[in-house]
Each structure stands twice: as C-alpha cells, then as structure tokens.
C-alpha cells in the first residue's frame, strides 16, 4: 500500500524537530517541506486552517497538527519498532504529564529570556532555571526521562537543546554550571542518530534568532 508521508516544518522549530526525531526513530521515509513562516504556503493554510502553524504531518493526504499529538500518532501507527510511549498505563500517564509540562513551561519561559529587561529579565531567568531544576529532579538517576530507553518525554524536551545556546546567551547563565545532569542527558540523546541528524547546530539557531529579532525590531 503506497503511503505518502509529508512534513510541513521550519528547520529551527523545536516543535517540528520533535516530529523529525520521531520519524527518524521509526525509520519512516517522508518528504520534508520547509515553510517560510512569513509567507505560508497554501498547502499549510489548507492543512492547518485553525492554527496556521507548523509542524503538520500529512499522512495519505490527511493532516495531523500539534507536535506532541503528531508524535503520539506516529507511535500508534508505526508501532512495530522503537516504541516512544511505554506500555504500562501509569507510566504512559506520567510521560504525558511531563511532556505536557515541557509544552506548557519551557517555550514561554525561553521567550521571556529574550524579550525582557531589568527586573523582569531577572525573574525570567529565575523561572527558566526553576523549570530546568524540576526537569532535572524528574530525570533523577535515569539515563533518559523514559527510563532505560529514549522515549516520549525525551523527544518532547531534547529538541530545546538546540536552543540552549540562544537561551543561555539571552538569559546570561550556563546550563552546564547550573544543571549539569540536563547537559549530560542531552549529550546522551545526541548520541542517537535520530537526534544528532535532526537537531541543528546551536550557533546556527542563535544566529537565526538574532536575525529574526533584528528584523522585528527594525519594523
């Protein structure tokens, strides 16, 4: 049965990267289409009319939106290898809870690092480090958030690693100094081909964000 898999994405998006990592983990062949977020394609607007955002996975012509929903879909459809969610319902609930935590907390806190000054900036830095501390505690002594194997929460959070240099520069802190276990975990994930081949270079992401920031300030 011919199965067409298309991904509408943007190279620097940590959300799109989650889908790319999941597809790579499962060994799924797909067509990657880079979207210009300032000039969104008709296909994107048609496939995600509600949010008009990437990533969108199109499987046999049908769109799936929202990165963690896409990752769960991939895990359920291509269930013959590399399971991302555990099989035990309680462990699955914990994985969903923590992936939801990453979704609710990390991106917003990261944005604040770049968009605040003075006292607000100090508060943003404190908040971001608190979030990393909570995640570090949840990781504990486990090699991955998923336990012995790379799983759903690892996919949800590791893509932010490509943005760490950006967050650290705007936030004026070092993750290695504050929360070394997080860095050790990220480097462990980077030894996986699916992660290493997906995450862009941190410097490249930083230069991209600087360019975007300069343009938006110049408008």
């Amino acid at each position: 049965m011919a199965e067409e898999v298309v991904l509408l994405d943007s190279w620097a998006s940590m959300f799109g990267m989650r889908v790319r990592v999941a597809l790579a983990e499962k060994g799924i062949k797909y067509e990657y289409r880079e979207e210009d977020l300032k000039n969104k394609s008709d296909l994107l607007l048609q496939m995600n009319p509600v949010h008009k955002k990437i990533p969108v996975l199109i499987h046999s012509g049908k769109p799936i939106c929202e990165s963690l929903i896409i990752v769960q879909y991939i895990d359920e459809v291509w269930n013959d290898k590399s399971p991302l969610l555990p099989s035990d319902p309680y462990k699955r609930a914990q994985a969903r809870f923590w992936a939801d935590f990453v979704d609710k907390k990390v991106a917003d806190a990261g944005i604040k690092l770049g968009s605040t000054k003075g006292e607000e900036h100090e508060a943003a830095k404190k908040q971001f480090l608190e979030i990393l501390k909570t995640l570090e505690e949840e990781l504990g002594e486990k090699p991955y958030f998923g336990g012995e194997t790379f799983g759903f929460v690892d996919v949800a959070f590791v893509t932010f690693y490509s943005w760490f240099h950006t967050f650290e520069t705007f936030g004026e802190f070092s993750t290695e100094a504050e929360h070394p276990k997080i860095i050790a975990w990220a480097k462990r994930c980077m030894q996986k081909e699916s992660v290493a081949k997906t995450l862009p270079d941190q410097q490249k992401v930083y230069e991209y964000v600087l360019g975007v920031t300069k343009r938006s300030l110049g408008e």
Partner: protein
Amino acid sequence: MAEEVLLFGVWGSPFSRRVEMALKLKGIQYKYFEEDLTNKSPTLLKYNPIHKKIPVLVHNGKPIAESQVILEYIDETWKGYPIFPKDPYERANARFWAKFIDEKCLPGIFNACWGEEKQHENAVKEACELLKHLENEIGEKKYFGGEAIGFLDIVANFIGFWLGIFEEASGTKLLTREEFPKLSNWVGVFVSSSGIKENLPPARDKLIAYFRSQFGTGSTDATK
C-alpha cells in the same frame, strides 16, 4: 486485589467533573474529596506538587494529574465503555480539538466575558470565531464522538455546561442558536445524556454567584 480509586476535585470545576463523567461512564467506584482551593490540603499538595491543582486521580496510591491525561489513563486502565476512538487518526483528531478547547476556547471565552471593557467587542468576535470551529467540527454528528459520548464530548463539558454559566454570570451571550445551530443542538443533547446529566454541578445559582464573586459581573455595559 482491592482497588482504591480516589479523586480530589472541586464541585464547580469542569476539569474535575470531566474525570467524574469518565469514571461514571466506566462504572468505576471511587472516593471523592472536595478541595478548598483557598486552603489546599496537604494530601493534594503531596499528590500534585508540580501544579498543586485539581483534579488528581489516585489509583492504588499512585497519583495522576491533568484532566486530559487522567481521561487517557482511565480509558487505558479500565475496559468497558470506550472513551477514545480506536482509529489512530480519529484519536489524533480528538486530541487536537481537546487541546483547542482547553488552550484557546477557555481563555477566549473568559476574555469575552470578563476581559477589559474596551477590548470587549474584539474579544466577543474572537470567541465566536473559536466556537465556529467547533460548530464545523460537530457537523451532523450527534456527539463529537459520533453516536456515543467520547473523549472530546467530555472535554467539551466546558462548552456544554459552563459556557452557559459564564454567559449568565457575565451578561455576555456567545452561543446563540442563530449563529451556532449545530453546537447548540449538541449542548442540549449533551446535558441531558445519561452519564453526563447526573454529573453536572447542582445549585446553578450558587455556581453563577461563585463566578461573579471571583471575576466580577462582566465586561458588557448596562445598555446592551
């Protein structure tokens, strides 16, 4: 093995009522603990240290938090009434709209009812645009889940019941039959469905009064 299911909730919260609806649909016995959100119990804080919120389900001593996560857990743990569809695409679709309701509709509707007065007209317009998506999604179906109540119907309990409460408390009408005939139909069917109607908060006036006391009497002006 004796099974122990505990639920920490608040009588007027759509989030904890979602969990009760799911438990009742599955026929699961549970012990309910009413929380005072101004004075959270040490037990709640122990079971949900990260967010310190209700609802929390505790199954044989193990806590699960976040209403949508709890609903997935309930469906995976107890057989019987199916809450989620079987097909992965339909499951993704249900999760998409559930996220839309919690992340977009709730704040949008709240803003329309209790936001800044000068933004009121815009807020109402935006909230109606959000509800339009749900009007299109329900289409000709009896329930969001098809022929029977499913995950998305349970999550949409906010639209099914609490939206009406918000409208009465704030004086802002959003879900009109003229603009939203299909969604209005669904509301009627939903609140009278077995498994749901017994699990809606009683004392409607008390609930309206509660929201008024929390958020004010609304951002509409008296001449509307």
